[in-house]
Symmetry: C2
Subunit: 133 residues, 2 copies
DNA sequence: TAGCTAATTGATAATGATTTTCAAAATCAA
DNA sequence: TTGATTTTGAAAATCATTATCAATTAGCTA
């Protein structure tokens, strides 16, 4: 049976206070920073549980880290600045519908899609100007 | 100056014979399997180069591995079976346009989007039937 | 063709995220 | 409270990927 521990609550609540996506490492540091004595392994376990129970969204950053975010109600998509990390929540009904349609069109079930756009926000100029047309 | 080595050719050619996405590790094993003495670090470097030069596409698997695939010409999206690895190339003009539009709408430049759908193909039944409605 | 020089290789060590281990601590039902 | 069972957490183990650096090699150039 699943038990309720202050650690799990701490992770759930800490995740709720974050605005964007956080890595397990970052969340752990954040918790430690507020005086919590929670262990890193526990944070990983709690996040994995939350994600499985649908209480958290997760995605892979381009650097290969797993990022988590408290899941409000709907499924969202993001526009993430590669430089400053600014995250803009975007409407993706269009993509949502397309993903469902495309998956079932090819006979795929239980589709989970990853639709995130990484770029440079207006405040962060592209680092390699020579690459631009 | 960039030089042509049999190692780089081996990676390029090995990538070309793969049908779907492969990890660097897998490609290295595959090369070793055919008698090549290429080193793992070199495979990583060659793949990174190919991806940067636009000769290969790369994406992050949900497990956090970087996957590569020989890039034909256009930018494609994929429908990938979590169980058997079957990869279906999908048309995503709709999403392509949406990504561009959304990025610039929010002032983002040089957008790179990740649009991939992971699910279970018709041949692979969902492992957890209880989760379905 | 021989020699030069900078780019490339690869074995290995280093890194960094994530997972496993397992004994000790905590939870929950009775 | 007791006791069975789950959960925790520090440290070790994994795993993919990157950095190191001496030895090798590609591509000039004489």
């Amino acid at each position: 049976m699943k038990r309720n521990t202050w650690q799990r609550e701490a992770v759930r609540s800490a995740l709720g206070t974050q605005m964007g996506f956080v890595s397990a490492q970052a969340l752990h540091s954040s918790l430690k920073g507020t005086g919590s004595q929670i262990g890193l392994a526990t944070v990983y376990r709690a996040l994995a549980d939350l994600a499985q129970e649908g209480e958290a969204d997760s995605l892979q950053s381009p650097e290969g880290e797993a990022l988590y975010r408290a899941c409000s109600l709907a499924h969202h998509h993001h526009l993430i600045c590669r430089s400053c990390g600014l995250t803009v929540e975007i409407e993706a009904d269009e993509v949502e519908a397309w993903a469902q349609r495309t998956a079932s069109l090819h006979g795929f079930s239980r589709p989970e899609h990853v639709v995130d756009i990484f770029g440079f926000c207006s405040a962060c100029v592209p680092p390699v100007a020579a690459e631009l047309p």
